[in-house]
């Protein structure tokens, strides 16, 4: 180990996060590989190691001949200060080698608030932030993940974006790089070739012109470069790699358990939900595959907990059968099985009763809106009746703590819809009073609200987000209407959502703002202690950019969006139809009931998208 590093490690919090060496890590000889990759996660070890996508790509890339893929994460504050003072550049956890010397550095961009951390990590590696200032082929700075469905705000910094699921396109890209490195290609020659791979977006090959009002006039690709980049996805998840022999962290992380991915995509079509669109079509794994992967991962890791994960796990066709198979393995070994993100229906509660025999700690539901009208408008197929009847069973079965998540600021929301949240909470309390088996323990009902952020590639991509002031007015209204002391109301502060709203639908003119915020000290901004609205406002002002243009402006029907260059497979016409349906409080069926002709079958050939 580096002597300078050895000296500072005893002084930092939880140094185990910075040394690698975990069970399951992949070690190779540097002289025996041709391409060295850093999987960069713009957050600390605990968050990064909880990310399933990271483990999948790590496994796949390390199986490739001549490739060594390592992990590179943002250090905590104390460690960053020590590293900068000792002039230790950010390094790969496996080898301890400086990440700036690697061939490809791939950032996972799952949320907008991570953008400044990307610049900070590049700086810690000793690399210039801007793509144009990095002349050589290596290191190639790439990014993937759900927030790359609007890549434009990061266009100045990232050499190329990988759109969609990275398993296959990632390998295509690495092979191309491998050849380019051998042939001594320049960075610009390589980028031209990479742009020919389906699913790869090279922002420097596109020119953007603007109207005087600030909206986009035209986006022009260089000759031979595709006008739109279509996302990539894995057609058959049963045959796709799953990390059953992955890295097992030696120190505690956020999700310290085996995670089984039941399916990708979602049959529901919640109109606010970006994941529900970009992950289409739904693709399930078979019970046999899942049960075997679960058993293998548990045997390999020694974890005492396994959880099922998907956008809407209770929509898995044979959830009950899968749970039976897993319980057969888990119970004799004292392994617990947990079921997150269940829908509020009776079936789910029955299943919870069966699976979680011991702790009946808490139930969490996300009705998202308080009134049936608004739930219909956002196509959240949850009725009050179903919610109350599920809770009736739950209360009768001994549960006494319920958390409910809502959004304020959804399109078409009125004050009546806001007050309806309080009314729904009261009805839940009444249900508890009527059906609870043990009233002495009391009931704990928590209502949480966050500020809705309209996202690209959704039915609400045209909508103006509510201002921070309006969100807070609605918070006050709701607070005044929640009078029962058994109900706790928590609301998220709107400042972070405001910036998220700017970045989520922003264009490449935001690059200088992001860079400025980072220079003013911005990083790890999804952690509230690191976020500062003032820093962002100062940067907007310095760049002469009005953030409300992005966050709070209603877009024209035919406006060219910055993210139009990305094709998620779902058509703009479908999204527009869904938006109209929202205005008419009209539900759309889920993919199992009827096809809504979203358009994704164009790219998902051979995929049975009826879930």
């Amino acid at each position: 180990m580096d002597r300078a590093l050895e000296r500072l490690l005893p002084r930092v919090q939880k140094p185990a996060r910075y040394v690698g060496g975990e069970y399951g890590q992949v070690m190779k000889q540097p002289e025996e590989v041709r391409v060295r990759i850093g999987l960069c996660f713009p957050d600390t070890y605990e968050i990064a190691m909880s990310n399933l996508g990271l483990h999948i790509l790590y496994g796949i890339f390390n199986q490739m001949d001549g490739v060594w893929c390592e992990r590179v994460f943002q250090p905590g504050d104390d460690m960053e200060t020590e590293m900068r003072a000792a002039e230790i550049p950010l390094y790969g956890l496996e080898s301890g080698n400086s990440a700036g010397d690697f061939d490809i550095l791939g950032f996972s961009l799952g949320y907008e608030m991570a953008y400044t951390t990307v610049l900070n990590m590049l700086d810690l590696m000793g690399l210039p932030a801007r793509s144009a200032d990095r002349e050589s082929l290596a290191p190639l700075i790439i990014a993937g993940g759900s927030s790359c469905y609007n890549p434009e705000p990061m266009a100045d910094f990232i050499d190329l974006f990988v759109i969609g699921e990275g398993e296959e396109v990632g390998q295509d890209l690495i092979r191309l790089y491998d050849g380019a490195k051998t042939e001594g290609l320049t960075k610009s020659a390589f980028l031209r070739l990479a742009a020919e791979i389906s699913g790869i977006y090279v922002p420097s090959l596109y020119q953007v012109r603007y109207h005087e009002d600030g909206t986009i006039a035209a986006v022009t690709p260089e000759p031979g470069v595709p006008e739109r980049v279509t996302k990539r996805m894995v057609a058959d998840l049963d045959k796709s790699y799953f990390p059953t022999e992955g890295i097992v962290p030696s120190t505690e992380i956020v999700h310290d358990r085996v995670v089984l991915e039941l399916f990708r995509g979602c049959i529901r079509g919640c109109r606010f939900c970006q994941a529900g669109t970009i992950c289409r079509p739904v693709r399930e794994k078979s019970v046999e595959t899942l049960a075997e992967q679960g058993r293998q991962a548990l045997r390999h890791s020694g974890h005492q907990e396994i959880t099922l994960s998907s956008l809407s796990s209770s929509d898995y066709r044979d959830l009950s059968g899968l749970c039976d198979e897993l319980l057969e393995f888990c119970e004799p070994r004292h392994i617990s099985l947990s079921l997150p993100s269940l829908r509020a229906d009776n079936f789910s509660i029955d299943l919870m009763e069966r699976v979680q025999k011991v702790r009946k700690s808490g139930l969490t539901f996300a009705p998202e809106a308080g009134s049936q009208r608004l739930r219909d408008a956002i196509n959240k197929n949850v009725t009050e009746e179903a919610l109350l009847s599920s809770l009736q069973i739950a209360f009768a079965g001994g549960w006494s703590s319920v958390k409910l998540y809502f959004m304020l600021g959804l399109p078409t929301e009125t004050d009546e819809d806001v007050v309806a949240i309080a009314e729904l909470a009261n009805k839940i309390l009444w249900t508890w009073k009527q059906h609870a088996t043990n009233k002495n323990r009391g009931v704990r009902l928590t209502v949480s609200t966050s500020c809705f952020v309209p996202k690209a590639h959704t039915a609400f991509q045209w909508e103006a987000g509510v201002t921070m002031e309006e969100y807070l007015r609605r918070v006050t209204l709701l607070r005044e209407n929640i009078r029962n002391r058994a109900i706790t109301y928590n609301w998220h502060e709107p400042e972070g959502s405001f910036i998220e709203a700017v970045l989520a639908r922003g264009d490449r003119r935001l690059g200088p703002v992001i860079e400025d915020v980072w220079r003013r000290g911005g990083r790890l901004e999804s952690w509230s202690e690191h976020f500062s609205l003032a820093r962002w406002m100062a940067a907007f002002e310095a760049a002469g950019i009005d953030p409300h243009f992005y966050a709070n402006r209603q877009r024209g029907d035919d406006e060219i969006f910055p993210w139009d260059v990305i094709d998620s497979g779902v058509s703009r016409q479908f999204l527009a139809r869904e938006r109209d349906a929202a205005y008419e409080n009209r539900l759309s069926p889920d993919c199992r009931k009827a096809c809504t002709a979203c358009g994704v079958t164009r790219i998902g050939k051979g995929v049975d998208c009826h879930g």
Binding site: A16, Y23, S250
Partner: protein, 222 residues
């Protein structure tokens, strides 16, 4: 008392695992190796394992003892091989046996250390000065108790032997036998004594390793 005991090393990158992390890791290692060990009862059963002397973060060791109890038919002799295949880098099981002695009979620890001095004119002289310092009849060191109150400890009765040797231009080697428990001497307190009473001898960096464990008669404890 759990019936079985093993000795393992904690070296290299593994020295940065906290005691809690280490315990969780070893519980998982038994699970990975498919060796069933005794679980605590109750709502949340967990594998019972107990380290004889928790090791401070950053300290290396080749003499860590861990008590546990196998409840299936895995032969003890196979245990090191089974577990070593499943352990993270730096942790290696050396041997496993039927525990006969109680952990409280463990009285002394042998430690070896390297004291690094970035600027040092004469390591021999420093080694002699260090030895003279620790040969005093009493060395009172103030430290914070668990309740965060300042207390004074005389560390001399807790040191059975201590020696310093020059090792190259910038290092002094330390070998010592110190009290293991009730009360034990944290090796950090040796350096703390220097910084309180002989700051000119405080090294720029210290590396410490546990080498062996003994009973009250200085017989190797197993």
């Amino acid at each position: 008392m759990a019936r079985h005991r093993l000795r393992f090393t904690k070296t290299g990158r593994a020295v940065y695992l906290s005691h809690l992390d280490l315990m969780r890791t070893i519980q998982r290692v038994f699970q990975r190796a498919g060796v069933r060990i005794w679980h605590s009862e109750g709502f949340n059963p967990h594998a019972y394992i107990s380290a004889a002397l928790p090791l401070s973060l950053g300290v290396e060791s080749v003499a860590e003892l861990l008590d546990f109890e196998i409840v299936d038919d895995t032969p003890l002799a196979n245990l090191p091989e089974l577990l070593n295949a499943k352990l993270p880098e730096g942790i290696t099981v050396l041997e496993a046996w039927e525990a006969e002695r109680k952990v409280k009979e463990l009285v002394w620890l042998r430690i070896a250390g390297t004291l690094e001095y970035d600027v040092l004119p004469d390591t021999g002289e420093f080694a002699r000065a260090l030895e003279t310092f620790f040969k005093q009849e009493s060395i009172l060191v103030s430290k914070l108790s668990k309740k965060k109150e300042e207390t004074q400890v005389d560390i001399v009765p807790l040191i059975q032997e201590i020696a310093f040797q020059p090792d190259g231009a910038h290092q002094v080697r330390m070998e010592a036998v110190i009290a293991a428990q009730n009360p034990g001497l944290n090796p950090n307190l040796l350096i703390e004594a220097l910084s309180q009473q002989a700051p000119e001898l405080v090294p720029d960096f210290v590396r410490v390793a546990r080498v062996e464990v003994y009973d009250k008669d200085m017989q190797v404890f197993r």
